[in-house]
């Protein structure tokens, strides 16, 4: 599972029946630095993620990729390879190393 920030939604005018009832989120994956800084930035290459949890734009989610992304549709099938498994409410992740103080910087 990766982490990502919800940036928007995709609305389809026509779709397979198996996608009915599924929201489609535009999600920007989060780098370790962005996660530690906690400013709501992502940094990764955006992708579309299937969803049933309805996160808001700007919220962080955890999304599963690959064949397992279609597990929630079992015993049915759906052409889904990324799925929103959770909405993140708390992150305990260390901040990045602080920048050296001015008097520590070598000339």
């Amino acid at each position: 599972m990766r982490l990502g920030i919800v940036r928007g939604r995709v609305v389809l005018s026509a779709a397979l029946d198996s996608l009915r009832g599924t929201r489609l989120l535009v999600v920007e994956p989060v780098s370790a630095r962005s996660l530690a800084e906690g400013r709501g930035e992502g940094g990764g290459t955006p992708l579309v993620v299937a969803d049933h949890l309805a996160p808001h734009t700007g919220q962080m989610i955890g999304f599963v990729e690959g064949r397992e992304a279609a597990n929630p549709y079992w015993p049915g099938e759906a052409p889904v390879d990324a799925y929103c498994a959770l909405i993140v409410t708390g992150v305990d992740f260390p901040p990045p190393d602080p920048a050296p103080a001015a008097d520590e910087v070598l000339p």
Binding site: G44, V64, I87, V88, T89, G90, P94
Partner: protein, 91 residues
Amino acid sequence: MFLARIEGTITATTKHATLAGCRLLVGRRIAADGGVADEPVVLLDRLGAGRGSTVLVSTDGDLVRKWIGNTAPGRLSVVGIVDRVDGESVR
């Protein structure tokens, strides 16, 4: 399978029903030179791995399905806590 370093945890109030009660660790994959990947991954854990641990991660989604249910949207899980790695390339 791959090795990862545990660097934190997340909590999620709203999640797929099968994930209720699962520990969610944030780890980074360890490369052959000992460095860690830039992008973190969320791991399902039932062994109690803590921050700073090196863990063995399985990408076997069937394991997760057997663990928490057929509809579980999960693939990466902690299957071991590493005591040591012998060899020159991975530390």
